[in-house]
């Protein structure tokens, strides 16, 4: 077994792990060894091809991760850079009330706000200029404003974006300022070693055990030969996301571990829905996301955002099959698309469990989420029609295709009785929780600095820290919390 000794081992390199690597990289100048081990391969943006089937190797289980009941498809990046390699760069700031409700001693919104501002500057997060707003986004704004609803501009972290339109298949020009482009190169430059293709199975007593797999073609290999590996480190920071981090801790069977381990997972259940406009929209060209609406955030717990996806994913999100479905797809270039994002409640019963050693999410979608998603579909239909679409495609509808004349009957046509689990497509790209922060080990896994209760050498810096849903796309919050936790490690380093 290969043995690697280091001062700090960071497991994962996404929004959390990449940020921790950047913060802790200065230790390298003091002769300390900082290592990042990631389960995924180390591709540069030269690898991305803008083809759907070739992009699935960037995802956990090639996009085939589902909740235990099979009802919800969880999409997560599995590569150096984690999910920041496949996100759209949407940089939302968590609402202050969420942080207040967490009630974590010392964690104030003021402190996070300063971090948000600094991180946003580092990753060039900004509102995109008008020439970045494609037709799909313009139609969304038109529809939402016609209904008298608020329409906000999404802050996006891109630099020298060429508006290729393939953000979710990996940015081919490296414009998206995720950890693959920003934090990881900074960390490498400072002396941090990246070990890709390294699956950590368990931790215990300042050690971590795993397996180093061969590097796939076209990726940067580790400096070590494939095979079993044992890390020894003064500090181990888990940053493998809700699934990875919870899975490592569950497999490790550390004594006195909180019963909350793996629990309180939220996922932002979401739908991508489509309208069909009489004119050509070509939402697949240009930047996919520039606007959102908070009209029903307080009252019904969801956001409406713009989005766009490629032919396979679009086909998957449209109900039905056969000639009717095929004819709908022929209008693909006229599609208008909206992403519905529900913020779900954190419940102890929605949790990561192990099945044959593999972390699986045992999650039951709540009645409130179903009602919220149905309400959101009716809202999306109204936006489509207000924007000029003559048809709308909603999953929890009595009809695959709703026509404009159906608009007065939306309450009757779209509702929970048509929301059939395992029949309709529900997705999630924002799993959070599993190692939630808090002060009481009975209800939290990590303390106010992300240290696992009772284990001073073991820390968490990723989405699993979040005690409840951030309501909005979470990666900026994950980065800020990871930065805070990593800074604490740095400040208390002996």
């Amino acid at each position: 077994m290969k043995k690697i000794e280091c001062d700090i081992l960071i497991v994962g390199s996404g929004a959390g792990g990449g940020t921790a690597a950047r913060v802790l990289a200065p230790l390298c100048q003091k002769g300390k060894r900082v290592v990042v081990a990631d389960v995924g391969p180390f591709y540069t943006h030269e690898h991305f091809t803008q083809r759907e089937i070739e992009g699935v190797d960037l995802l956990w289980d090639e996009g085939g991760v589902f909740t235990k009941d099979g009802a919800i498809n969880i999409i997560m990046g599995r590569m150096v850079g984690g999910s920041t390699g496949i996100y759209t760069g949407v940089t939302f700031t968590v609402p202050p009330d969420v942080i207040k409700a967490w009630a974590i001693p010392g964690l104030t919104y003021d402190d996070l706000e300063k971090r948000f501002a600094r991180i946003k500057e580092t990753i060039n997060a900004h509102v995109l200029p008008d020439n970045f707003v494609n037709t799909n986004n313009r139609l969304f704004k038109k529809g939402v404003e016609k209904l008298g609803w608020p329409c906000g501009s999404i802050v996006i972290n891109v630099k020298n974006c060429q508006q290729q339109g393939f953000c979710n298949l990996g940015c081919t020009v490296g414009a998206k300022q995720g950890t693959l482009e920003v934090e990881i190169p900074q960390a490498i430059k400072a002396g941090v070693e990246i070990i890709p293709n390294c699956q950590i199975e368990a931790v215990g007593g300042n050690k971590a055990w795993g397996t180093l797999a061969p590097a796939p073609p076209d990726s940067i290999p580790a400096k070590h030969d494939p095979g079993p590996v044992e890390f020894s480190a003064k500090k181990i920071i888990l940053a493998g996301n809700t699934f990875g981090t919870s899975g490592i801790l569950l497999r490790s069977k550390l004594s006195g571990m909180s019963p909350a381990l793996g629990g309180y997972v939220t996922i932002h259940p979401s739908h991508t829905v489509f309208g069909i406009h009489p004119e050509v929209v070509e939402g697949f060209r240009g930047f996919p996301k520039t606007y959102y609406s908070t009209q029903f955030t307080e009252s019904h717990h969801y956001y409406l955002e713009t989005c766009f996806y490629y032919p396979f994913v679009a086909a998957k999100y449209i109900e039905g099959w056969g000639v009717e479905h095929k004819k709908i797809m022929r209008d693909y270039r006229k599609f208008m698309a909206i992403l519905i994002l529900n913020h779900d409640q954190a419940l102890p019963t929605n949790r990561i469990v192990l099945q044959k050693g593999v972390p699986v999410l045992d999650y039951r979608i709540q009645k409130e989420s179903i009602e919220s998603l149905c309400h959101a579909q009716r809202s999306a239909a109204r936006v489509f029609f207000a924007a000029g679409c003559d048809r709308a495609l909603l999953p929890a509808s009595a009809k695959v295709v709703l026509k404009r004349e159906d608009e007065p009957r939306l309450e009757e046509l779209i509702g929970p009785r048509h929301f059939i689990l395992n029949k309709i497509s529900i997705a999630s790209a924002h799993p959070q929780g599993g190692c939630r922060m808090g002060t009481d080990p009975a209800t939290s896994v990590t303390n106010e600095w992300g240290q696992v209760h009772g284990y001073p050498w073991l820390h968490v810096c990723d989405s699993s820290l979040l005690p409840s849903s951030t309501h909005v796309n979470p990666y900026l919050t994950i980065m800020a919390l990871s930065e805070r936790n990593a800074e604490h490690i740095l400040e208390t380093w002996k």
């Binding site: 091809t49 289980d61 099979g70 396979f312 998957k316 056969g322 022929r330 497509s425």
Partner: protein
């Protein structure tokens, strides 16, 4: 496993029988249709089935086994409802049979149908030759992929009338 006769596609997971059942399934999820003189091919095409076979190579063994079992379930449950296997049914009978799965009372059966249907969508809409039918211009960059076989599956031509 063996190569399907009369094609150059290599199948590692689906034997000839399962290929035939999947072909019948795919042909109803995305059937051939016409508008005027133009024929739009269906997914009942060896190239599409080969993409599904390739997709299975990346899935855990348990999941591949479940997919195979589900395919056989689709095939032989036809005996209960139409006194013939699914792949022997008429188009109308097949559609009726598939709706039983789509709306089945058991979530696991609906999930099986959803999963297989999704694989058919992947196999069809990943193919370059289909993109003009949906007016999708494809990638903006012409980049090679390290797996030339995967690229070849996407660019393999349909036989159109």
């Amino acid at each position: 496993m063996e190569d399907q006769s009369k094609t150059n596609f290599i199948f590692k997971f689906l034997n000839q029988y399962l290929q035939r059942v999947l072909m019948a399934f795919a042909g109803r999820i995305i059937p051939e249709d016409r508008e005027g003189d133009k024929v739009y091919p269906g997914a009942d095409n060896p190239g599409s089935i080969a993409i599904i076979d390739r997709a299975l190579s990346t899935k855990p063994k348990d999941m591949v086994l479940l997919i195979k079992i589900f395919l056989l379930f689709v095939e032989f449950s036809g005996l209960l409802f139409a006194l013939r296997p699914f792949s022997w049914m008429s188009a109308e009978q097949k559609d009726k049979h598939l709706r039983r799965f789509e709306f089945a009372p058991l979530g696991k059966i609906r999930q099986g149908f959803w999963g297989l249907k999704t694989l058919v969508f992947l196999s069809y809409y990943s193919r370059d030759e289909i993109w003009p039918d949906i007016h999708y211009p494809g990638p903006r960059m012409k980049r090679l992929h390290p797996d030339p076989n995967l690229r070849a599956l996407q660019t393999a031509p349909f036989k159109r009338q």
